[in-house]
């Protein structure tokens, strides 16, 4: 059951957080949850630029560096397309692609690779790359777990980019729900108010909620009911209907 699987993720995160810096936790948990050989999380900024957020072991790190260097591979592909992909046997690929990546990935120790986009709607944060040192597809459970993990990573990255205080990440994730329609509506409103991309609007919304110590959902409700808005001229958040916004 979901709630159980999410609870498993959070339990693993709590366990790892004691020993690792925040971002490394996500990779370690992804690898352990899916029972694969390793995991890496990459972030994409505008365009096709990939940067490494974390990797769960040396092989995963080498694979990630390879992807970033050649611009090919499961994470790179997932990032660009917004869809999941896989190559269940790099030595006998089903699709002819990744000429620069595949042979090197095998040398590095991967035999099967899987990429999952880390996204919230159309906003793409990056990708989760997973590998196994033996060929074969993911099981149904592994597939579901990977998607769930990618969704948790998305929320985590959003929180991190919005300036979540270190050590608060787990509490932050446990408190949110995956989809709150009001938060997305408010992000849309903010993108217009502040002339921001949707990604920047989502981050700014989260950041302001942190700053005023309320949930994103609560801030969203205030925005939707037109009690609070972002004023681009002053660059500040204002309460509507007051003469001087605070």
């Amino acid at each position: 059951m979901v709630a159980d699987r999410l609870a498993d993720i959070f339990a693993l995160m709590a366990q790892y957080e004691r020993e690792h810096p925040q971002s490394a936790t996500l990779c370690a948990v992804a690898a352990e949850l899916t029972e694969l050989s390793g995991a890496g999380i990459s972030l994409s900024s505008s365009g096709d630029e990939m940067t490494k957020l974390c990797t769960s072991n040396r092989v995963a790190e080498n694979l990630m560096d390879l992807e970033i260097t050649v611009g090919e591979g499961p994470g790179s592909e997932a990032s660009r397309s917004g869809e999941a992909n896989d190559e269940v046997d790099l030595m006998a690929p089903e699709i002819s692609r990744w000429m620069a990546y595949s042979p090197e990935a095998v040398v590095a120790g991967a035999r099967a690779v899987f990429g999952f986009p880390v996204r919230i709607g159309a906003v793409r944060f990056g990708a989760l790359s997973l590998f196994r040192d033996s060929p074969g597809p993911l099981s149904e459970t592994q597939s579901s777990d990977a998607y769930l993990m990618a969704s948790v990573i998305g929320r985590a990255v959003l929180a991190m980019q919005a300036g979540a205080p270190s050590g608060s990440l787990l509490g932050e994730l446990q408190g949110q729900s995956t989809f709150d329609f009001s938060v997305h509506q408010a992000a849309g409103m903010l993108s217009v108010q502040g002339s921001l991309s949707m990604k920047d609007a989502l981050v700014a919304l989260r950041a302001h909620a942190f700053a005023v110590k309320i949930t994103s959902a609560a801030l969203a409700q205030q925005m939707i009911s037109r009690r609070v808005a972002f004023d681009p001229e002053s660059g500040t958040w204002q309460e509507m209907g007051t003469r001087d916004g605070n």
Partner: protein, 246 residues
């Protein structure tokens, strides 16, 4: 129109929509509308499971914030999630304040005038992927015929989500579900954009989005995406009065 004629017309319309590339959110919204028209129900909506198993709202006969909130709550508690977990219809549930089953959902539903709820599972080869939720303002059981019709429409919804994927492996289904959920997020963000830019409420914003999509023979999600990515500005949306009645 007699109920049978309306149902046949609905099935034809849906079948017609399922041939080419179509928008899942569009189809499920039409389905929800038809539930309200064809059966003695006052509101209808569809919730889908994420690949990780969390329930999320994707379509409804009403875009009013209050109805959306009812679906929001049902991610954690309510007839939808009960139906989803057991995979069986949950019908003729009278709502009463004395009922402690759904302590957050029930009072909110009652406050909106709903007196009974019904939830039909969206099932695919033994796996429940979501639920069709029906709300009535009257008490008393649904007609047996209506329950059959409702399950039939739920089955159509399930087929629609597959998007004519003939090979249904878990990974493909996960990708379809993920796509539908992400589409809904994009639509909510687009509603926010429209609401802010044209100073209308979220309900109207959805109406404008839908009208524009229909006038231009485009999918709801495509138009929403264009708005979110800045390829379409709210000012270019068709004026509501220009909508051709369907």
């Amino acid at each position: 129109m007699a109920r049978e004629s309306l149902l046949i017309a609905t099935l034809v319309e849906l079948a017609d929509n399922l041939v080419d590339h179509y928008d899942v959110i569009d189809v499920l919204t039409v389905l929800s509308d038809r539930c309200v028209e064809a059966m003695d129900v006052d509101a209808a909506g569809v919730m889908l499971s994420s690949p990780g198993g969390e329930l999320q709202f994707v379509a409804s006969s009403s875009e009013s914030m209050r109805v959306l909130e009812l679906f929001q709550i049902q991610a954690d508690e309510g007839p939808c999630i009960d139906c989803f977990r057991c995979g069986l219809p949950i019908v003729n549930q009278s709502l009463s304040e004395a009922d402690g089953r759904w302590p957050r959902f029930t009072p909110l539903a009652l406050a909106q005038g709903f007196r009974s709820v019904h939830s039909l599972p969206l099932r695919l080869r033994g796996r429940t992927i979501g639920a069709l939720n029906l709300f009535r303002t009257t008490q008393g059981p649904m007609e047996d015929d209506d329950v059959l019709v409702a399950q039939g429409l739920a089955d159509v919804a399930t087929i629609a989500i597959l998007q004519h994927q003939s090979a249904l492996d878990a990974h493909t289904l996960n990708e379809q579900l993920s796509g539908a959920l992400n589409s809904r997020i994009v639509i909510e963000q687009a509603k926010g954009i429209i609401s802010q830019a044209t100073n209308c409420d979220m309900d109207e914003a959805f109406g404008r989005l839908r009208a524009h999509a229909r006038n231009h023979n485009d999918g709801l999600t495509n138009v929403a995406l264009a708005l979110v990515e800045g390829n379409l500005i709210p000012g270019d949306l068709d004026q509501p009065k220009a909508t051709r009645p369907r």
